[in-house]
Symmetry: C2
Subunit: 237 residues, 2 copies
DNA sequence: CACTGCCTCGCTATTTATGGGGGGGCTAAA
DNA sequence: TTTAGCCCCCCCATAAATAGCGAGGCAGTG
């Protein structure tokens, strides 16, 4: 079957619920003739959302075994920008190779291709294809479809962000310039005294900024505030 | 002139320096028959890099006037995931409309289309087209080219990250599982006592993990350690 | 004009983190 | 087998962060 990008994108754009996305992953699975198609993302609050063809057994096992913490796909994609072919990752660690075998036992194919997608506020998503194939077959499959898959991944992400915004209405914490400077200094490892010196203000004043930034970010302490500011992407180290 | 996506992407992939990117923006400008094409990004260290056809006068003025802090394009794209047509943004504020008039005076057209692109570690880039046109003309131009432009924006970004990585080559420090848990707890805002309770160990032991993680990460204090772990992508919030 | 938000500085008290130092046991690779 | 790395616990002193309270000036918005 041939991939008709236009019709697929338009059905994605018409989707009004996560269930539609789920259905589209199944359709895509048939069209591309692969074992699995999965879209999965983590929002800025650490909540997960997934649409895909993995069995619930595998998903449960994945979470239960805490594979998230050792999955080279997650690691690799979190640090890179470009899509990745699973075989190119480092599976040498004991935990990773055990996970890989476990995945095969739960119906996954030995080949995978994952496109990382990033949204605002540190939002991070993965769009994954999985199939059983040899390395060359898979490489050429990927080469053929890479561009279309990227478009599809982005349409998935657009929808996911839409759904998220509907349900919640995410108030974006906007920090003032001085608060941003303060957070940045702290993220760079400066103590309050050093940060105050660098900003040319008293330590007392700096403290006020940190406090107000903390409140705006809904953070429990300074470390938390810096962590949130970083992962929401409102400061850079 | 018609846009040949394949050849453009391949020349992008062959680029070996920022100057090549610069040249490609000029080519693209001719092909698409628009006034300006600009790719601009901020890396994880806050350093800026740009390739584009804006005049140096305008760039200098932009920085000098601190337009970065009031530009609706920057604001809008930082918070959204999808490309934006400038006219759809909110230009009502005093500062923004002054900036817009100033831009027109410096050779920019009245229409713009900007694609935000995000990379790992909060990296943030913009790919912008600018031209003189009426609203409907511009809308149809954008509709025609949106998909290709997204591919191009991503190729630009891939290159930019490549250039960045060349200079560095820093091996990321590997933390032990308990150290990772400790860092993650702290990043979630837990105090040492809470984190220790959650991990089921004494606070003293937890401290040892934090210390050793700090040393491995070359961090000056706990906050710095968590910030590094986050921005290196070795923990997730 | 009044309002809100930002920037600046001060005080006190309590809690918490930091920087060292020790110790022992356990597993996995060299 | 030895070594290295991880995991777990304890003590001490000092330094730093936190949580409240207070104040005034200045700029931009409606």
């Amino acid at each position: 079957m041939k991939l008709n990008l236009e019709s697929l994108v338009s059905s994605l754009q018409k989707a009004t619920s996560p269930e539609h996305l789920q259905a589209i992953t199944r359709t895509l699975c048939d069209i591309l003739n692969v074992r699995h198609v999965v879209y999965h993302w983590v929002n800025s609050k650490g909540e997960r959302f997934g649409a895909g063809t993995y069995s619930t057994e595998w998903i449960d096992r994945y979470l239960e075994k805490d594979y998230l913490r050792m999955d080279p796909v997650i690691f690799g994609c979190f640090q890179r920008f470009t899509p990745v072919i699973w075989k190119d990752l480092d599976w040498s660690s004991r935990a990773a190779s055990a996970m890989f075998r476990d995945a095969l036992d739960h119906g996954l194919g030995n080949q995978g291709y994952t496109i990382p997608v990033r949204g605002p506020n540190g939002q991070f998503a993965l769009f994954t294809l999985n199939d059983q194939a040899d390395d060359d077959e898979w490489k050429s499959f990927v080469a053929t479809n890479a561009r279309d898959l990227m478009i599809i991944a982005h349409e998935f992400n657009k929808k996911a962000l839409e759904f998220e915004r509907e349900g919640e209405g995410v108030p974006k914490p906007a920090l003032s310039p001085r608060e941003l400077s303060a957070m940045t200094c702290l993220a760079k490892g400066k103590s309050r005294a050093q940060a105050a010196a660098e900003m040319g203000i008293s330590e007392h004043t700096l403290r006020v900024y940190i406090e107000s930034a903390r409140h705006k970010l809904g953070a429990l302490n300074t470390t938390h505030a810096v962590a949130r500011a970083l992962s929401e992407g409102i400061i850079l180290v």
